[in-house]
Amino acid sequence: MSKDPSRHVDISRRRFLTGLGATSLSLLLPGAAQAAKGKEGEELATLHDLSKCVGCGACVAACREANAHKFPEPQKPFPEMSPATVKAEDWSTRRAVTDRLSPYNWLYIQTARGQFQGQSFEVHIPRRCMHCQNPPCANLCPWGAAAREDNGIVRIDPDICLGGAKCKTVCPWQIPMRQTGVGLYLKIMPRYMGNGVMFKCDRCAERVAVGGKPACIEACPYEVQDIGPRSDMVAKAHALARNIGGFVYGETENGGTNSLYVSPVPFDVLDAAVTTGAGKPHLSTVRDMMADEDKLAYAALFAPVAGVIAGALRLGSRLGGGKAQEPPRKADASGPDEPGSGKGRS
């Protein structure tokens, strides 16, 4: 919700790390690694002007229609799971639910009502995946099922996901939702591993891939949303916020997201006014969840160098200080293997 003054310095360091690593690894994975902000095109972000949203739900209906073919069709009865404390999550009997996120409802309208500066307000907020720039769901998925694409879309591969729900646990907004009885786990060890597939907004990836717009943006009669290169959307968000005396959400949350919101009411006020909980994400400030890992990556880059220096120094000190005490080296087996010799051990 607010700008972090240290961010500029941080990005420089990250770019250094990224450049160094990407250069060396490009030899090993040609074409696999692509800088998301490279020449090929900046990642795309969406901008929600909440002052325009009336909560009509046209976006929700369009999302459900456009993505219906991706919704899960679970096999029943569900396989028994061990231990018995593991519960199935079945949304297939509640497909019509639209007042929260579910495997069958990837977008819903959150409504905040209250008082701000002596005036009552009613703000409607379309909520779905924030499509983080550095998504924990994709970074921590142990199975490689979640990934961020070059255009900024974060997707979960339904053919690979095992439904462990780790992505939901580490998501700052707990966006992905599980449906039991579908996916790869059924073919492996359904009793002992996995529990379905995680589902969430993929920002209509197929449409965007061919130059189209997500269904929610196309369907909106009030042009609440816009999509474009992130830098353009950020500039537009700030200009809009200046015009209406509003506030921006999503620019710096979790280190930056590709879903930006501009509201005439501060987001902490909105957060206090909306209903949050399972399938109903909050609007509070989120620190960069991967910030510590970024710093540790920097340490990991220099760790081997430090080890090499330590090894060379150790050898130097042995040659310099301990040479006179060492017995002459023998080429046969006796030297270092003599009990208690200690030669070569340091």
């Binding site: 990250r14 790390l17 690593g21 990407a22 090993l28 994975l29 696999a32 690694a33 692509q34 800088a35 998301a36 231990p83 404390t85 593991v86 550095n134 921590l140 998925c141 142990p142 199975w143 490689g144 099922a145 990934a147 997707r155 591969d157 462990g164 780790k166 580490v170 280190g255 969840m289 991967m290 510590d292 890992e293 970024d294 540790l296 990556a297 340490a299 990991a300 760790a303 081997p304 160098v305 430090a306 080890g307 090499v308 330590a310 090894g311 060379a312 150790r314 050898l315 023998k330 080429a331 046969d332 087996a333 006796s334 030297g335 270092p336 293997d337 010799s341 070569g344 051990r345 340091s346």
Partner: protein
Amino acid sequence: MRAPISRRVALAYVLFVCVLAVSGIMQMPIASRYRIVAVPGLAWLGDFWLTHKLHYLGAVGLLMLTGYVTTRWVLEWRRDYCLSALGWARAGILGLLLLTGAVRVLKNLPSVSFSPAPTMLVDWAHLGLAFLLGLLALLRLGFRGTYWQNKGAARAEAAHTRPPQGGPVS
């Protein structure tokens, strides 16, 4: 057979590998499912962020140790020692583990994105290599093997096992 490395270095390796093994396994969502978190003192294993950071920390330690040991080996120890078949296997698996881990760390940086297929390949390779390393350690224990040999001893052993060729040399 006496190892060229000190006990401290060996213990550091065991420590880092144990940290990496535990924190790596706990990257899979099993701590909650299998009620490991309910065991007194083990609740922290269910904290994905904590175990993730521990995994990074363990990797930093192992990378440093690898740099140290490799330098000592190249500059010093290789005059007297050579790797056994088990040693070569461990070196290869460790090298690939470090490489796939490095690729994953790179992928986790904010401005880098890999396409899903290579990400998955790296994840699975990292997981498989970790299991192979554990299997190798068990094999070594089971067969009481060593990762290195003293060059003199290796030569003597080779001469002992080699069938005699030709007549006596005067």
